[in-house]
Amino acid sequence: MTEHSGQLAWSGIFAGLSAIELEIVSAAARPVRFGAGERLFFEGGPARGCWLIDDGCVALDLLVPGRGQVVVQTLGRGDVLGWSWLLPPYQWHFGAVALRPTTATELDTDKLRRLADHDPRFGYTLTLSLFQACAERLQATRARLLDLYRSSL
């Protein structure tokens, strides 16, 4: 197991991948570092890249007229950032900025998409792994929609 495949397995997101598939993904991975305030991407930009956050904090934001950049969610250790690269129109729906010094594993998503197109079984497993993260994010967002801490007055 390479250093990168070890990191990917640690993240838990790719726990469903076989050792061989993990090696394939890790071949498209590299460690990256972002300083506090450094922007990873802007809303509306071409969606390239997927990051597994090893440490730090990244905010998902968007521009709201009159309010500036509004943070809608923060991500941290073990979270996946970026899945718009998987679906047309391959554009970021939100922006992302590091709130604190952040280390991550960056995946070359052009390469991953080509591999997935070439091997649908691998593509299915990869998509399922990302869907798991997506479902957890959706459930947490739904819980926030309940506005549970609201006063009943």
């Binding site: 904090c57 905010a59 309010r67 500036g68 509004v70 943070v71 809608v72 969610q73 923060t74 941290g76 250790r77 073990g78 979270d79 709130l99 957890e136 459930q139 947490a140 967002t141 819980a143 926030r144 309940l146 506005d147 549970l148 801490y149 609201r150 006063s151 009943s152 007055l153």
Partner: protein, 284 residues
């Protein structure tokens, strides 16, 4: 149920004892913390997790968890009250010097002592931080008795966190891990945005030695418990504080019946092994 035994008051349990409001701190736009001192007789000391029945003469009586420091043995009581209905609004608005009726303390405790040498994961949502404040204070006062102490607290907005001064002070300490998160995006907030389950999911834990304490709206506790169970923590190592219509406080009237338990007597703190299956039963 937890290992904590119900502590019966030494005084007549149905007779309110007069206490005077001697301190009042505004926590949020609708929450205040009151410090009460006995006007004559004192009630027995409380344990973290227990509640009292607080009465405003001529208005009514409701159950409120104790939010004070368990180390304070001066006979005073501290309660954090959110103005929601008629009685809670009257309590919230009680001025200094006002006399309130107090019965208790009632119910089970968080039984912090049974978590000695273990990791404590404390998860609070909204005003659920109030009943858990004595757990944090108790753990910090006897810090050497516990391994890790982690607090995850969620609020609607930054302005709606209770005990903001203490949260800031705890965040600066090295012996407690504090994660604060808000539900709604807010200008000027540079902390986490997300539901409490998100920092909880990110928290590395050793399930074999973790005891979790959850307090907040029931769906929040269910969602948080699911995350903890997914991490391998046993339901018996997860404690939740339940809220029902407590009236007598001593298990006589049955208003707080929740399946096989009476929450005022067998709760409010119960094991998730007991509470979990009940929390999803309709009309229980």
């Amino acid at each position: 149920m937890t290992g904590a035994e119900t502590t019966w008051p030494a005084t007549e349990p149905m007779l309110p004892v007069p206490y005077q409001v001697v301190g009042r701190a505004t926590e949020t736009h609708d929450c205040a913390t009151l410090r009460l001192e006995p006007a004559r007789d004192s009630l027995p000391p409380f344990q973290p997790g227990q509640f009292t029945m607080l009465a405003v003469p001529g208005v009514g009586e409701i159950a409120i968890s104790v939010s004070g420091d368990p180390a304070g043995q001066d006979g005073s009581l501290t309660h954090t009250i959110r103005a929601v209905g008629a009685v809670s609004t009257a309590l919230h608005n009680a001025p200094l010097g006002a006399l309130l009726g107090v019965r208790g303390p009632f119910g089970t405790t968080w039984d912090l002592a049974s978590a000695t040498s273990r990791d404590l994961v404390i998860v609070a949502g909204g005003v659920g931080l109030a009943p858990l404040r004595p757990v944090v204070l108790g753990a910090l006062a006897d810090r050497g008795s516990y391994h890790r102490v982690c607090l995850i607290a969620g609020a609607r907005t930054p302005a709606e966190f209770l005990f903001r001064g203490e949260l800031a002070a705890w965040s600066r300490r090295a012996d407690i891990e504090v994660e604060l998160t808000i539900d709604q995006p807010a200008t000027g907030w540079d902390g986490q945005v997300g539901f409490v389950t998100e920092p909880l999911a990110r928290l590395p834990v050793d399930p074999s030695r973790t005891t979790a304490f959850l307090c907040g709206p029931e769906p929040m506790m269910r969602f948080a418990a699911q995350v903890l169970l997914h991490k391998g923590i046993l339901a018996g190592d997860i404690r939740v504080s339940l809220e029902r219509n407590m009236q007598c406080g001593i298990g006589l009237c049955g208003h707080c019946q929740f399946g096989p338990i009476l929450v005022c007597r067998d709760g409010p703190v119960v094991s998730y092994a007991l509470a979990g299956p009940l929390l999803t039963v309709r009309e229980l």
